[in-house]
């Protein structure tokens, strides 16, 4: 029992540190003097440690227990993705994307792209049902207060900051850019946009389609 509670504490601590790190990365975008490479690198290292420890503690809590919707041989990350409380996933997965796109030279990209390379296999293994679970949740499971309640919007100029050559961020930035544009020709709620989200905890990439303006959605971070 004590082992489980310790694992849960570690788990909670890891999640908290991860959330704090993401908010720091987000806040550093507006810092005077520009993004600090050293500081961004250190924060991303902490994020990685927190993520690794979170994974390890989740495995120790429920070792090898498969979910009915996923193949037995799927990696632990896709299993965790299902179990991960949505309110943690939603703010977590979007902030790194937002934080990264205007700052091609932060070391956080390293982590994200490491996630991307892990993801490609997961995507193939994932069932559609698992993907559906990434849909937006209601305000009842909203993001923690310290994170912005609205999805961070790219400033018009930020898209031009596409990552330098050789960075895997180019594709993601463009996708992310689409997200914030109104679907041409639609002035009501019927436009649909494709969302690509990367969960920093599990490294899983999911693509969903959702209306660009979601009725009834207020507080959840996107």
């Amino acid at each position: 029992m004590s082992a489980t509670s310790t694992a849960m504490e570690v788990n909670a601590e890891a999640r908290r540190i991860l959330a704090v790190s993401i908010s720091k990365l987000y806040a550093s975008r507006t810092q005077r003097g520009g993004l600090r490479l050293h500081r961004s690198l250190l924060v991303s290292l902490v994020m990685r440690s927190a993520r690794d420890i979170y994974h390890a503690s989740r495995e120790s809590e429920a070792p090898g227990a498969p979910t009915p919707q996923e193949p037995m041989d799927s990696s632990p990350s896709s299993e965790e993705q299902k179990q991960l409380p949505p309110q943690e996933a939603e703010p977590a997965q979007t902030e790194p994307q937002c934080a990264l796109s205007p700052a091609p030279q932060t070391a956080v990209e390293a982590e994200e792209c490491a996630c991307d390379s892990e993801i490609t296999e997961d995507k193939e293994n994932m069932s559609p049902a698992a993907r559906q679970s990434r849909k937006r949740r209601s305000k009842a499971s909203a993001a923690p207060d310290f994170l912005p309640s609205k999805r961070a919007r790219l400033e018009p100029g930020e898209e031009r900051y596409a990552a330098p050559l050789g960075s895997c961020r180019v594709g993601a930035a463009e996708t992310h850019g689409d997200l914030h544009q109104r679907v041409p020709g639609h002035s009501d709620d019927s436009g649909w946009v494709k969302t690509t989200e990367i969960d920093p905890l599990t490294g899983t990439r999911t693509e969903t389609e959702r209306p660009w303006k979601f009725e009834g959605e207020t507080g959840s971070v996107s």
């Binding site: 704090v20 005077r32 520009g34 050293h38 902490v46």
Partner: protein
């Protein structure tokens, strides 16, 4: 001699002066960002977040009181850097002075290098105490005389005037750094200096500002592979071919410029294996080196990471020869320090004149001195409460355990907003300059 004690007597430090406002409301521009004595110790320069440099000069010792050292008074103040805007990247460039380094003095004028995140400037500080008088064609106030009224000629002579100290920028070394400059260091060859940013080290000639040579480049081809950055760099005090740079991973690399033009391959790598017992989320952050300083002898390197000061012998790369814990009681509080951003504070460290004592800052306006010879260390406080001239500073104690003794301060009551990041030690004497957020304290050892 500086730093040495008579027999086993401990040096006692006394308050000498404090510079800056008493105001509790601190203007951000007044935050001191660097402190540096010149090579003789006569001048003390400070830089602040507002881009200003203030230079203090020590008055000569009074003949009446030969035992008392002269006070430091303002000698010159000038605006070194202004805020700039990089239009290409839509980034504001802060005017904060990151470092000041004095050039060795060659004539009556003084030269120093000051740098912000992107641009280094060479300043000449010179005195003017005479002016020519007795022009033939000009009146004393500068108006031109009617040429026809001149009936005789005279030679203008120099007459004394009130001392004027002028600071003029002689060189501007710009556009050589993509990342933020963290260090500058003057070479002992009296011709060159280095500047270091997060990923590169450049070599400059003092006289040439439109060209610099890149000597270290740790930028990976793919930025996603980045794992460490350069945090500080310094030239060897007397070997002009040798310099060191520290990294965010806690390593120090020593390079020899004779081996090749690009010193990406180090000559020596100083690294201590990590203690697995101390592993935590924040191990990487606290092992990042915030300052590196050669001893005056050139035999040792001192490094400062978040919790400790380490002394390395240049002849031994495997581990430091001495390690001093500055404030180990914070080790259990790293999570809070991460949340309030204090874990990113970059403390500096310095040697005394004969390399026997080292000093560094901490929180709550505490600073620590470690005597290497006698293995003694002391915690002192820079505080307005202890400002009577020549009053002796009382050593402070921090209690990390449950029971707090009298006169001890509990760890939980330490103020993280009061931090001493910048300290400097007079090169020849027991005089230290300690910068709190916006005040500069000058202490000296007690003279009998």
């Amino acid at each position: 001699m500086a730093g040495s004690s008579d027999g086993n007597d401990e040096v006692q430090w006394c308050f000498s002066q404090v510079k800056g406002t008493i105001d509790d409301d601190i203007a951000e521009a007044d935050i001191i960002s660097t402190v540096e004595f010149n090579h003789s110790g006569e001048l003390l320069a400070t830089g602040d977040k507002g881009g200003r440099v203030v230079i203090f000069q020590q008055k000569p010792e009074s003949k009446n009181l030969p035992q008392r050292r002269g006070e430091y008074n303002v000698y010159s103040t000038f605006q070194s850097h202004e805020p700039e805007f990089d239009y290409l990247k839509s980034l504001e460039i802060e005017e904060k002075i990151n470092k000041i380094r004095w050039l060795p003095q060659k004539n009556a004028a003084h030269f120093l290098l000051s740098t912000n995140d992107k641009t280094i400037k060479l300043w000449k500080i010179s005195e003017r105490d005479k002016r020519p008088e007795g022009y033939n064609l000009k009146e004393e106030d500068g108006r031109y005389r009617n040429a026809s009224s001149v009936t005789s000629l005279r030679v203008p002579v120099f007459k004394p005037m009130d001392l004027m100290v002028e600071a003029s920028p002689r060189r501007v070394f710009a556009n050589a750094h993509t990342y933020h400059i963290n260090s500058i260091s003057v070479n002992s060859d009296c011709e060159t200096y280095l500047s270091a940013d997060d990923l590169r080290v450049n070599l400059w000639h003092w006289e040439i500002n439109d060209r610099s040579f890149n000597i270290v480049d740790i930028k990976p081809d793919n930025m996603e592979d980045l794992t460490e950055v350069i945090t500080a760099a310094e030239f060897h005090p007397n070997q002009c071919n040798t310099f060191v740079y520290s990294s965010s991973k806690g390593t120090i690399r020593m390079c020899d410029m004779r081996t090749s033009a690009l010193c990406d391959n180090h000559a020596k790598l100083f690294e201590e294996p990590e203690d697995p017992n101390n592993r935590s989320f924040f191990s990487e952050i606290i092992s990042s080196i915030s300052d590196v300083k050669f001893s005056h002898s050139g035999r040792y390197i001192m490094t400062r990471d978040y919790l400790s000061v380490k002394i390395w012998d240049l002849n031994m790369e495997s581990r430091p020869v001495e390690t001093y814990q500055v404030h180990d009681y914070f080790r259990s509080k790293l999570c809070s320090l991460y949340e309030n951003d204090c874990i990113f504070d970059k403390f500096e460290c310095c040697w005394n004149g004969n390399d026997s004592v080292v000093m560094t800052g901490s929180y709550n306006n505490f600073f620590r001195m470690f005597d290497r010879g006698y293995r003694q260390d002391v915690i002192l406080e820079a505080s307005r409460d202890n400002c009577k001239p020549r009053s002796v500073l009382k050593p402070r104690k921090v209690s990390s355990g449950g029971k707090r003794k009298k006169d001890e301060i509990s760890v939980d009551s330490l103020d993280f907003n009061k931090k001493i990041l910048h300290t400097a030690w007079h090169p020849l004497d027991n005089i230290i300059a300690v910068a709190t957020t916006n005040n500069l304290y000058i202490f000296q050892d007690k003279v009998n």
